[in-house]
């Protein structure tokens, strides 16, 4: 309820910044979980559950941005939604690799995430700059 209230109080630029920042944070979490599982530092059950949570949160941020498309700069929204979709899809592939206990495949799947995170953060700076 408070989160909904906070979102309602925020300006469109703040909403964009918050969604993009949260997405970057969850993408980074997924990458750390995957790296830890690949190095045998965390159990499979945890890796599955944490990746599922990360994908769910990414999906929530993407949907939130798509629902606010009228209030926000179209160009920023399109870029953010595109980046978050790619991160979501990478995390989904990582989930499959963990389910199959395929470590080499997992490492290959999370390779795009650092670049996606970097681009999300650049977008965040741009959103903050224009607010």
């Amino acid at each position: 309820m408070l989160a909904a209230c906070a979102l309602a109080c925020a300006s469109p630029q703040q909403k964009l910044a918050r969604s993009v920042e949260d997405a970057a944070s969850w993408a980074a979490s997924a990458r750390l979980v995957a790296a830890a599982w690949a190095a045998n530092k965390v159990p499979t059950a945890y890796a599955k559950s944490a990746l599922e949570s990360a994908r769910g949160r990414l999906q929530r941020q993407r949907e939130s941005l798509m629902n606010s498309v009228r209030e926000l700069p179209a160009e920023h929204v399109a870029t953010a939604v595109g980046l978050i979709s790619r991160a979501e899809s990478a995390v989904e592939n990582m989930e499959s690799a963990v389910a199959r206990r395929d470590r080499p495949r997992l490492i290959h799947e999370y390779e795009p995430l650092p670049e996606l995170e970097r681009r999300l953060r650049a977008l965040l700076q741009a959103a903050r700059g224009s607010s």
């Binding site: 408070l2 989160a3 109080c9 750390l32 979980v33 953060r121």
Partner: protein, 401 residues
């Protein structure tokens, strides 16, 4: 020996779901920048705990007991109700933390652990004595020292850590920064600690001979306890902050020890969260029964058989299983912790203000009344608590999500 035990108890009592989650969030989002908030809250807590212990040792009254007697039931019903609500929320958050730790360790969803954890906590309170619970929780709770070892192993730069002790304004996320300050104060200066500490002193039949022990326990115990919280923040700042991870779930926080302890870190985090939250749930479960029993004049003691203080046992039984129900329906433990920490700050003035009156009352403290320094500190704490109470909810709306 008694001082050493007191210190160990305080360290274990200090670290619980609120301090772990707020320190993880603060370190991940703001690096070392919020160390000052823990230091400030811990300093205030040292004074408050010392006063609660002194009150119990000299007057043989717990805090709740003294407030009811000195200010009347008409006044006491307000802080009593507020504290019961906060204690219930914090109890649910602690049970939730223990359940989430079990989810991390076993892979079984946390909701399924709500009833087993509640049952284990209830059994420990039903069968245990105050001393056995206190010592058991304290010794097991020392596992939290793994955060101290991790902080040392990660070699943070002394200058950066030192700068964190100087209050500074955030460069971004100002509402979130101030909300975390409120949460850290709420997690550190939890009202239950004061009443629980004074109840423990009465249970252990402290006298004026224990005043030195009380002072040392408050100073060193709370001091070392806050060091553990600071180390949680430091480790989070070293591991999660550079990666841009904001901690919104314990699943994200669970990786925080894997750099310092590559193959044991995950397990250590899970076990630490489990032990600290379960231990705190026992202490809050006891306190939730102490507060109304002392206010209403019922029999109360963890050291006698349940048949001799049935209403005391009924209260903790109802509270524990009621709190477990919140987890059973799927309330997010970290969200609940965040909310209950803000609510704790909201009621802090109601709890601290009567302490100022009682600690200056000759009938209770005789020649051991507060000096000017202790009074000045309590006045500052009351002022701080009023300001934080006013801003807690607006900040929760703006920065808590």
């Amino acid at each position: 020996m008694q001082v050493a035990l007191g210190i160990v108890t305080s360290i274990a009592g200090f670290v619980e779901v609120g301090s772990i989650s707020t320190s993880l969030q603060a370190g991940a989002t703001f690096g070392f920048q919020l160390l000052w908030a823990i230091a400030l809250a811990a300093t205030c807590l040292i004074f408050l705990i010392e006063m609660s212990g002194r009150l119990a040792a000299v007057s043989k009254h717990t805090l709740a007991d003294a407030v009811r007697e000195r200010l009347g039931f008409g006044y006491h019903v307000v802080p009593l109700t507020a504290e019961l609500i906060v204690d219930f929320l914090v109890l649910a958050a602690e049970i939730g933390g223990a359940c989430f730790a079990l989810q991390l360790l076993t892979g079984i969803r946390f909701q399924y652990w709500a009833l087993p954890v509640a049952l284990a906590a209830w059994l420990a309170l039903w069968k245990g004595t105050f001393g056995a619970i206190e010592k058991g929780v304290s010794l097991l709770g020392l596992i939290a020292l793994c955060f101290v070892v991790a902080a040392v192993q990660l070699h943070p730069r002394g200058r950066d850590v030192g700068a964190g002790f100087l209050p500074s304004l955030p460069q971004h996320h100002a509402p979130n920064y101030w909300f975390l300050v409120v949460s850290i104060v709420g997690a550190t200066m939890s009202p239950y600690l004061m009443n629980f500490y004074s109840s423990g002193a009465v249970e252990e039949e402290w006298t004026e001979d224990n005043l030195v022990t009380n002072r040392l326990t408050a100073l060193l115990g709370m001091g070392f306890g806050s060091c553990v919280s600071m180390c949680v923040l430091i480790v989070s700042a070293m591991v999660l902050h550079p990666e841009g991870v904001k901690v919104e779930s314990f699943e994200q926080g669970a990786l925080v020890l894997t750099r310092a302890f590559p193959y044991w870190g995950f397990l250590l985090f899970g076990v630490t969260l489990l032990v600290e939250c379960f231990g705190a749930a026992l202490e809050i479960g006891m306190n939730i029964a102490y507060v109304p029993s002392q206010a209403l004049g019922w029999n109360w003691s963890e050291n006698v058989k349940p048949s001799e203080n049935a209403r005391f046992c009924l209260v903790y039984t109802a509270a524990i299983f009621g709190a477990a129900l919140l987890m059973l329906v799927g309330v997010d433990p970290i969200e609940l912790t965040r909310f209950s920490m803000a609510f704790t700050v909201l009621i802090l003035p109601l709890i601290v203000l009567p302490l100022l009156v009682i600690m200056n009352d000759e009938r209770y403290l005789h020649e051991f009344r507060n000096g000017w320094l202790a009074n000045a500190v309590v006045i500052v704490i009351v002022g701080l608590a009023f300001v934080l109470a006013l801003v807690a909810i607006p900040l929760e709306i703006l920065g808590g999500s």
